[in-house]
Symmetry: C2
Amino acid sequence: MSKNTAVSVSVIKRLPRYYRFLGELKKSGTVRISSGELSRRMGLTASQIRQDLNCFGGFGQQGYGYNVEQLYKEIGKILGVNNNIKAILIGAGNLGKAIATHMSFEQRGFNLIGIFDKNEALAGQLVRNIPIRHISGMYNFCRDNSPAVAVLCIPSENAKEIIDELIPLGIKGFWNFSHYDIAANYPGVAVENVHLSDSLMMLSYRINNI
Amino acid sequence: MSKNTAVSVSVIKRLPRYYRFLGELKKSGTVRISSGELSRRMGLTASQIRQDLNCFGGFGQQGYGYNVEQLYKEIGKILGVNNNIKAILIGAGNLGKAIATHMSFEQRGFNLIGIFDKNEALAGQLVRNIPIRHISGMYNFCRDNSPAVAVLCIPSENAKEIIDELIPLGIKGFWNFSHYDIAANYPGVAVENVHLSDSLMMLSYRINNI
């Protein structure tokens, strides 16, 4: 995959949203769409959409608009939805189980191959048809199966120890539901944070300031 | 609560992170901290921190730094963590149950008072000590209890119908885990989106572009 290093982060961050919208259009049978119509639906200006998509080589044709199927595929390729990256999930509490069960990992470029928890009582339980393993087996599992990504659904206080073990084992990316600040402490690792409580506090703020 | 309308959204969006850091400092017994030390820990510049916090009246004292406890309280007040806003959760599937169980609603300004699902088989199950109710009882429940916020853990295709019912019942904010674009369709309502699959795709992109 080519590195789109010249493309700004803010454009990249809009791509999943384009991808979602185009996926819905595709599902509804729409074959092509103008930047004007796409802008109306997405609440962006048409010129911003043209500019965004031009960053990746310009998929549109003057007077025709965008081919929905093709644009969906191309953005998916840029995002890496066909990468099939091996991932493990650490922490099979309520949140971990829900993430494992709920997410379409395969459609987003991942293959969830292992689930670990420090609670021995959970070992053997199936989640998404994957047996929960005790955390003590994580080292051997990673050595044998070479996952590249870890989904962290553990409390912050346990994060450092786990990350220190995972990085030498070849984990190069984290989907981080803990509040531990991975990016600050491990530069060079890919991190995507989901701070649910930050989001909830933002809602509280927004409601007070409608 | 005063409306901080002059404060930019980007400053506001950093407040939950300040709040988290300060909470950890407080827990570890730190009484005061300089903007320099806070900047080192948070990966922001000291001048940005001073600028951010000055927006709300300047909590720091030259040569002393910030009083951790006081700053934590003040930011919490701005975010509304003591608001005790009544909330209901719609959709008690894996994700809905995990959100209901996992989140510290009370500490973030909310009081979860009801959980609803269209699946009759779930009715009566306890989640967080709250009985799941069939969705047909939502109207009466809202009329009687006046929740102001709904947490949506339902598929996008069911969102519009539910939102159309909830807004006339007094719901003025949504914590939205569905992919339905509430903000575009209902301007004037407070919305905070959690797009888990967007986040997962961003991780895929980041790993390919380390």
